[in-house]
Symmetry: C2
Subunit: 237 residues, 2 copies
């Protein structure tokens, strides 16, 4: 009896949500659910006969509202989880090195600040998979121009906490905008166009991206600071 693993996609914000569960005990965690697809995810959890223990966020997202609150409404006993450093409301807070347990498996929470202060990467106990949020994207990385972003901090985080994992460790990001679903440590060490550069070049790239202001940020960040648990009539807008 092994690991149940599902990757799910929310197309408006191009967000990946992940469900991991112990096939034997049926205990499950969900990583980075999205409000708009929470019902789909809750249905899948039910169909697979899973007990959703934790709805975990990698960070306070600026591009979508977390599905944590909606999942908590639908699934009794499910706890919202985020890093202590995120400064958001949640049922459980994680510090660097903490474990999120489900059945015989666990996720190790690694602090990987730089995109935001509270960014966590979640590493599966056997180091076969890691969920990097926006710290590392496939051939890219999260922006560093708001939400306490810092290129130098991000560079340090990714190199010491993510790209130091085994080369064949699969890396699952919070987003991809080109239809790619997964990468690996070995691939990003070779082909990441930003993080293969020196720290100084990386900072220079990140400080000159000139990106647009995120469409959903003014709605998403306040909602996500509450882990998506809020009472407003605009919940399904």
């Amino acid at each position: 009896m092994g690991l149940i693993f599902r990757q799910l996609f929310e197309s408006v914000s191009s967000t990946y949500t992940y469900i991991l569960a112990d096939e034997e005990t049926k205990e499950a965690v969900i990583i980075d659910p999205v409000m708009e697809t929470a019902e789909r995810d809750a249905q899948l959890v039910e169909e697979l006969g899973l007990t959703l223990k934790y709805a975990v966020n990698t960070h306070v997202h600026a591009d979508h509202v977390t599905g944590t609150g909606e999942l908590k409404k639908r699934i009794g006993g499910c706890k919202s989880v985020i890093s202590k450093a995120a400064g958001a409301k949640a049922d459980m807070f994680l510090n660097n090195g903490d474990k999120v347990e489900f059945g015989k498996y666990h996720l190790e929470a690694r602090s990987t600040p730089g995109h935001t202060n509270g960014c966590m990467t979640y590493v599966l106990n056997d180091k076969s998979r890691a969920f990097t949020g926006d710290a590392l994207l496939i051939r890219g990385c999260g922006r560093t121009d708001f939400q306490q972003g810092s290129p130098l901090t991000l560079y340090e985080s990714v190199h010491t906490q993510i790209l130091s994992l085994p080369q064949d460790c699969l890396l699952y990001p919070a987003h991809d905008y080109k239809g790619r679903t997964v990468t690996s440590v070995g691939e990003e060490l070779k082909f990441n166009p930003r993080l293969t550069k020196s720290k100084e070049e990386f900072a220079n790239i990140m400080n000159n991206l000139n990106l647009n202001y995120p469409k959903q940020i003014d709605r998403a960040v306040p909602a996500n600071m509450m882990c998506g648990v809020f009472e407003t009539p605009s919940v399904s807008q």
Copy 2:
């Protein structure tokens, strides 16, 4: 040294493309590439150091132009593959039971007509994964109202060739429109809203879907009958 596996998404037609390779020999196949994302796929094949032997289609798609032709242009030695029954041009034709070999692995081609006459489902040799094209979709199935479609034929195909696989066999479809990436035989046996019905009820459902005419069909089917190898200035339209 195991299996390299990548699922890729093309968002306009919501098509999934799959790359499978033997980590040891680096021999690879791609299933259902899309013209618009062929360059992305060719780049990934190169970065992973793979030798792409076969670009395989599950059927003559009506909703997108296959990337087979573009991949053949980019990758020397790559052969286009489709079922004999599809009636399309290709470098290699498959009959029921034929094998598509890559390194120590192979895909078994199973005829699963009903969506089109030439539909093939490709089953990995250890029966851990199957690529169902449009014969079986997650909680759904391909339409049967054009391209030689037949509900009764499809019902028979899915039940005898796909849902007869081991319950934990993962099923990877050619499309999903809700961001789901995979299902399993066990799940579809329980939760497929159409194929859990009787044959008669299934036919009734399929004959009353009243779907729109596919947007890309007039461009896609002629191009796909040539396996995407054609000379026209409209190739990137």
